[in-house]
Symmetry: C2
Subunit: 402 residues, 2 copies
């Protein structure tokens, strides 16, 4: 009775099915065209800036997407936790950056096992305490752990707050035989200020300067040490900072955007507009590839639709946006209007939509495609997403490992 | 490479492990003592009020918990969607209430398959359109679908808004040979007003009156038709309304609380206080059974701890609450203080905690148990939770099917 099959989760569906007939909804969908575009676009961007790409895999935790990113030229995959690294490695990802502190004996044991299996692995450190914990753990196992010092900002998240801390930490790492200092890491997404662009540029400059100083002091264990930063909002600014004389030919610059792979209909769409304003030469930018399809289940009052879609199905940092509507069983070429549809409330399994007075043609069962923001918190609601072609036929199951 | 094992998800852990040493954190934990107490407590409550219990399974989607609820005397399990019903049935639940409209051909096909396999199944209807869709679908398959009319409230969620609508819908159901009207359904959780208790009592009274009227009109297809309502906040008021002369011996009253099974540290704790204030005779109430354990990963500033716990690990309708702290590898009998700890921000994989000035003993790696609200949105972050005994040893994996 306790067998686990995909068909027992909400996403079970046969390949070849069409989203407008015969797929159990709600279902999370990745459109192959925009996906392919985005994967190639960001790789071209990194290449053009002399940077390596290690897309943040936490966004999707979908190994089939990791493989597309690697096949397009990605240098590795970034992850957030030890179990995520384990899942990625088990699915063929051999070069992993854990852009996070490795904490806890059990998590260290997961990584030790990956190292023993041959993984190339980096994690970040920002405290003497963690350095000595890691040093002890990996020394006892006769393993060497490559670490990156995390450079933070006051009021930010993790990371050293001063150059003095960074230099002391480099010394502490040098005193741990089981650790090797492989580079520097930062995340500009937690940098805030009145003028964000100025702050991010200053932060990127600081990363570069500290990297150069540590290299001059002989603190790195590798030739071409890594310098890595960037989410999906400021990758252009980071790439420009890494693409200058101080790092060229002497460092390994690595960009780690994650959300770009499917982009979104909210926060990152706005961020992308800002990128294209800063960098009009980039021309056609990223395209949203992720949607959740759901059905109207009730029309209990004249201007109210209740849709069978909830917090368990879609990211809800912002309310989902109704993008398209179809009658079930109809053709893709016959979309119905969602003009004026406004999501007003989201419960665990229900979405409230305020309809415009004119929306007289809505029926129970109508299929609505919703866009969301941000993508990470939609992916983690699903054990599999559906990769669809431009006719909304299901081409592939994208299994996730959260 | 594409094999799916539990060890590839974040929750993989060996039975017998202790949460304070050797379990990869974060991990979601159900404490067996409070769980057992809650399961028995609510069953006693239902029994004492002459009601059947069909706990809402959407809360946990953990069949091992469904089995505990059924073994304690539950009449059936309530679910929210067709795939949830499929998962419950595949795990041995044979009597299912889907407290939601059944919409879409693929979802209808899932339920048709359950009926063909022998499931006892009820879903709700609130529109002529849905009634005719269901009537057509199930007639074509030679099956009979038992439906409950949903009674809503103006400004609420789904459900008929007037008695006239209910009577018309009953007539429409009578005209569909493949449908049988098995009772009435409501959900008082969406009833709002200046005096919520008065509104909920009025709503419960309305449910009873309409049920009696429909019965008198011969609209129900079964002897002892079902009348069902109640979440985990107003179950006492609903039970009292169902436990009167109008329904006794002639109807099947069914309560459907879900969150009670693990209770919580927020919304439902407050709701439970209100229940016990209304009903001091109930004495010792529910106990919180669900926690998420995580580790401090960084102490980047004097009064700031960053914990490796995020929106992907714990419900975040409210900020999580730090309940207990331990040094990794220490004994349960040596808890450390979390007095004054305050969660100020939650990101996908990180929690920001403001520490009191006095918190000088915090170390990277410290294990912190967090309480959350509400439980449904913590369960769905995990493919398995860990059932632990009072020594925090892992006794059982609670697999979930979202």
């Amino acid at each position: 009775m306790q067998t686990t099959t995909l068909a027992m989760d909400k996403g079970g569906v046969e390949l070849g099915s069409n989203l407008l007939s015969g797929v159990s909804l709600p279902a999370a969908v990745v459109h192959e065209g925009p996906l392919t575009h985005n994967v190639a676009w960001m790789q071209r961007f990194a290449d053009a800036h002399g940077a390596y790409l290690a897309p943040h895999g936490k966004t999707t935790m979908a190994p089939a997407l990791f493989q597309r990113q690697l096949q397009a030229g990605a240098w590795g995959i970034t992850l957030a936790t030890a179990p995520q690294c384990r899942a990625a490695y088990a699915n063929g990802v051999t070069r992993l950056i854990m852009a996070n502190q490795l904490v806890g004996q059990a998590n260290m044991a997961i990584i030790a096992s990956l190292l023993e299996q041959g993984a190339t692995f980096y994690c970040v450190v920002d405290s003497q305490e963690n350095v000595s914990q890691l040093g002890r753990f990996f020394a006892e196992r006769g393993l060497t752990l490559a670490v990156l010092i995390e450079v933070g900002v006051p009021g930010g998240r993790c990371g050293c707050r001063s150059k003095q801390q960074i230099l002391s930490l480099a010394e502490a790492i040098a005193n741990e035989p089981a650790l090797s200092l492989a580079g520097l890491e930062g995340y500009e997404g937690v940098v805030h200020g009145d003028n964000p662009e100025t702050c991010v540029r200053a932060y990127a400059k600081q990363l570069v300067e500290v990297a150069v100083e540590l290299e001059a002091a002989g603190r790195f264990s590798e030739a071409n040490p890594m310098v890595t930063a960037s989410g999906s909002a400021w990758y252009d600014v980071i790439a420009e900072a890494f693409d200058g004389a101080p790092l060229q030919g002497r460092f390994t610059p690595v960009l780690r955007p994650g959300c770009y792979v499917v982009h979104d209909h909210g926060l990152y769409r706005e961020a992308q507009s800002a990128v294209l304003k800063r960098r009009p030469d980039l021309q056609q930018g990223l395209e949203p590839a992720l949607e959740v399809f759901a059905q109207v289940q009730s029309l209990p009052e004249p201007e109210l639709a209740i849709v069978a879609l909830g917090k368990r199905d879609i990211g809800h940092d912002q309310f989902p946006i109704a993008l398209q509507r179809f009658r079930e069983g109809s053709e893709l070429s016959h979309p119905l209007s969602v003009a004026g549809w406004e999501v007003t409330k989201l419960m665990d399994q229900h979405t409230f939509v305020r309809l415009p007075e004119a929306a007289q043609d809505v029926e129970v069962g109508d299929i609505v495609a919703f866009g969301a923001s941000h993508p990470c918190l939609t992916f983690d609601k699903w054990r599999q997403l559906l990769l669809v072609d431009d006719k909304l036929n299901v081409k592939e199951h994208l299994a996730t490992y959260f």
